[in-house]
């Protein structure tokens, strides 16, 4: 899976180089999380039948930061890899922010802070239908400032939705700054625990650790919804971008972007 994560990282940068309007920094922090979910055997899905009733639902709430989902979904066969070359163009379904016209996407997430609430409704529906599929939600940490998340967090533990699995891509940076300088999310594990969730923290770039924690939670029957706070770096692996407080909106002139991208490719080759 480490190789797969590296491959997704490369493909994500290539997609961004081709379509610079696509956000890249927030798409580099959740790569390992998504690789574990999609390649680690946790998501029961059928790419040829994206709305198969017995699938595990995966809601990518951090819409802006899921450019890295495009190569993953194409690789798994949700759509043709040739579509990746058409991103953002007229007639393509791969937009700057993904929509559920893309096979493999469940809900609308361009506007932040909606994914967890809708996922909670899905988890309730599955429980009521006695469908034992799991619901995974990947959110950013910035969007947890939206109060509706906390309405869902209260609801999920009260109703013992242990089929609901939240993974926070905690890169600690929102659009304009580190969240510590906006409204801090320090103590997120304690907060979720006190709200009745089963919650742990993990290095979100450590594939083995992420896999281990998801598995551990999956095998724990305590009737609690589960959360993993994955500590990550925005712009992971890209010098100048990584952990920069304005990485989300850095918008250098086109020629500077070209230069930066050439450097990135150089770095990639060096790594290899």
């Amino acid at each position: 899976m480490n190789d797969k994560a590296q491959w997704v990282w490369e493909r994500t940068l290539q997609l961004h180089r081709k379509s610079p309007e696509m956000r890249v920094a927030s798409s580099l922090s959740p790569i390992e999380i998504l690789v574990v979910l999609y390649y680690g055997g946790f998501l029961k899905q059928d790419p040829s039948n994206p709305f198969w009733d017995d699938r595990d639902r995966c809601i990518i709430s951090k819409g802006h930061g899921s450019l890295c989902m495009y190569p993953i979904l194409a690789d798994l066969g949700f759509f043709d890899s040739l579509e990746l070359d058409k991103g953002l163009q007229e007639g393509s379904f791969l937009g700057g922010i993904p929509d559920p016209i893309i096979p493999g996407y469940e809900t609308i997430n361009g506007s932040l802070g909606h994914g967890l609430g809708v996922a909670t409704g899905i988890a309730l529906a599955l429980k009521t239908k006695k469908n034992d599929s799991d619901v995974f939600v990947v959110t950013g940490d910035g969007e947890l400032h939206e109060g509706a998340n906390w309405e869902a967090i209260m609801f999920a533990s009260h109703h013992k939705l242990d089929n609901l699995n939240l993974i926070v891509d905690n890169n600690s940076i929102s659009m304009l700054d580190h969240t510590d300088n906006i409204i801090s999310h320090s103590g997120l594990v304690d907060r979720l625990t006190s709200f009745g969730w089963s919650c742990v923290e993990v290095d979100g770039h450590d594939i083995v650790a992420v896999q281990k924690e998801i598995l551990k939670q999956k095998n724990t029957a305590n009737k609690k919804p589960k959360a993993i706070i994955a500590k990550t770096l925005k712009g992971h692996g890209v010098p100048g971008l990584e952990n920069a407080s304005l990485s989300h909106i850095m918008n250098p002139k086109p020629e500077l972007i070209d230069e930066l991208l050439e450097n990135l490719i150089g770095n990639l080759l060096e790594k290899k």
């Binding site: 609308i108 899905i122 529906a125 309405e151 869902a152």
Partner: protein, 325 residues
Amino acid sequence: MNIKPLPMRDVFLEKIWNEMSLDPLIFFVSADFGSPVLDKIREDFPDRFINVGIAEQNLINITAGLAIEGYKVFAYAIAPFITMRCFEQIRVSLALLSEVRPMNVNLIGVGAGYSYVVSGPTHQCYEDITIMRALPNFQVFSPADHVTTSSLFDGCVATNGLRYLRLDAQVQPVLYPLKPPVVTDGFHLHTKGEKVCFIATGFMTHTAFKILEEINKNGFKVGVIDIFNLTNFTKEGLKKVLESYSAIVSFEEGFRGRGGLDSMLFEFISESKLNLKTLSIGVDPRYSFELGSRHELHEKVGIGVQSALKKIQPFVRTIMHEIKE
């Protein structure tokens, strides 16, 4: 036939209870808002009734999640809260998401207009028609009595779609004692008139009838239409009815000139190339903290019988004289 007027919400909830006992795919979600009939639903269907608490954003999110998983969802709260507190949830996860994920969602908002008389402007609702009709994929229902409310129910269960029902919190007189209106028409012509037609919705349909009595005393014969589907009425049908008139007066218990029923009708007139003069009877666009009965409050904001008559009488007179000349 004499039918006892009933609370709109109880009639609707009774129908939901009946249907829930037949259809295991119906789910009811409340934002801590009740009614005696709702107690029955809560007790008899504990696995398909959930009170999310005072949390309308979550009410809509939970509704959306249930709906895309195949449940037919009725979500229930006070009208201003179920529309405005959670408007972006409604927009994103219902109106927008329904473009790609089929769903059946019915938002029941109780407390149209001034029906929460003493609770003041937070609980009163003068903007919901405007904001809910802004959303594609949503139908906006605004019944004037419990008979219409009851008739609207069947369509809510039978077909996928998104609907907002603005129900009055008080018992209203029966407008359809003999037989219910044809819900698919979206409107009903009660009284044919000459030259001028009143088009009213919800509580204001009853006001329109009271004003009609006064206008009749002047010897003028005016038509009255009750419009209860503000988005999906039959356009050809309404056009055909209005072609024989020279003017309309719109009546709504919502802000005047702010995108509500009046704007909808002006758009319709323009689109249908109808040659009609218009007068809008709606709430003066300002907020007020005054107390009084519903009728007293209506007089203060320009939609009571007397205050509306002051605008309507000269308007009707002018139209009638223009015709004579």
